[in-house]
Symmetry: C2
Subunit: 260 residues, 2 copies
Amino acid sequence: MKQISTISFIGSGNVATHLALAVKAAGFEVKDVFSLHKNHADILAAKVEARAVGSLAELQRDTDLYLLAVPDKIIDPIVRTFHYVEGIVAHTSGITPMETLQKTARYGVFYPLQTFSKEKEPDISKVPFCIEGNSSDVLQSLSDLAANLSDVVYEINSDQRKYLHLAAVLVNNYTNYLYRMAFDILDAQQMDTSLLMPLIEETFAKIREMHPDKAQTGPARRKDLPTIEKHLSLLEEFPQYKELYTLFAEQIIKKYHEQL
Amino acid sequence: MKQISTISFIGSGNVATHLALAVKAAGFEVKDVFSLHKNHADILAAKVEARAVGSLAELQRDTDLYLLAVPDKIIDPIVRTFHYVEGIVAHTSGITPMETLQKTARYGVFYPLQTFSKEKEPDISKVPFCIEGNSSDVLQSLSDLAANLSDVVYEINSDQRKYLHLAAVLVNNYTNYLYRMAFDILDAQQMDTSLLMPLIEETFAKIREMHPDKAQTGPARRKDLPTIEKHLSLLEEFPQYKELYTLFAEQIIKKYHEQL
């Protein structure tokens, strides 16, 4: 089995950027960075001493691994254009099945279960990498690469990965939206949002120690309808938030008071 | 102005327990612990070397502070029974106006903005205490007490406090429910929920560095309808979660794609 030592990136967004920086820092060579927007490719390529290319035909064909970090819907059309490569082709998507890459000979999935933003450098060593391969060789090569970046590497099949991606949306995207709702509410009162930080931290700390089923507290948990009514009356200027608040309250009441 | 040195607790639940332990540890004397369930009062009283009482009439009348940590709806009926005391009477509720205590001479609010569970000891020194008093003397006395327990003490009026309490429900109770949804989904697939921990931690870490408006990522943020459809199809066995997922997705799409 040939170890991966050279990697080209298809895509230059947040995922591509953080992964490219991580593999470069771990001693791998980044050969090409492709982006439909050549100027985006230029920026990333400069950071990792790679070559920027604006068309897939320009990709060097002797790279060990082609990592696709692009929007899900263009994975398939992109792969059709260079399925002839010898290296491994892997995507980084949570929701796209591995078999989307089956036109290539050696393919797999290299899915980092984390949220990446331009503004914040994540600690890659703590990011769980979810790996899949169409052969034991590919699986091993991708796992070895992941182990060079992170302490946490899992073999996860496409079906499990979908559920993981769904769960990630809940605990990251939707949790963040709850934060945003809270911030909007305090901002409207000219109140300091940093007041909420210890509570947000404790909410996270609790989940490490007990199942969220047990950690549930609050007005809905104790079916405190007068408090819920008061809260709803505070949300008159945020009709969308009122709707979401109501649905949470209904569901929590149902879970804890009607399904006993 | 007389400093508070003795405190009696009305209530013996999670909030009363954690506060009583904290004031005791900070060198204050806990005189009485009242609970309608005398055996609950016994348990807490034993921990803080106090006297347990099962009727309000038994409360010693020369205590500096009577702290009510009871369900909101019984604050008023309880206060009616001992409005004659000379000490300060304060409640610990997020949603109850201070004026609910106006039958007493010296009253205020001592609201810890934190979630308290039996199973987990919070770091009281990091808990924001939101203080209100019906006179500058009461305000000062309660603030001094809070400063003995915590590094974070704010003067917050009853109106602001309601909004804080609402915001706290979002970032704690409802976030916790999202965690529970995610855990239920992975549990149903016999998958390891600890895979989500780094992502949960990063979600919290991000909010310290950027406004949640900027931290928002994910399928709804980029209006990726095919991914949203796939996620909804995974939620067939959880119709309630499907409903909540849908409402979040709709609202985030609306925020980022229709209100530009």
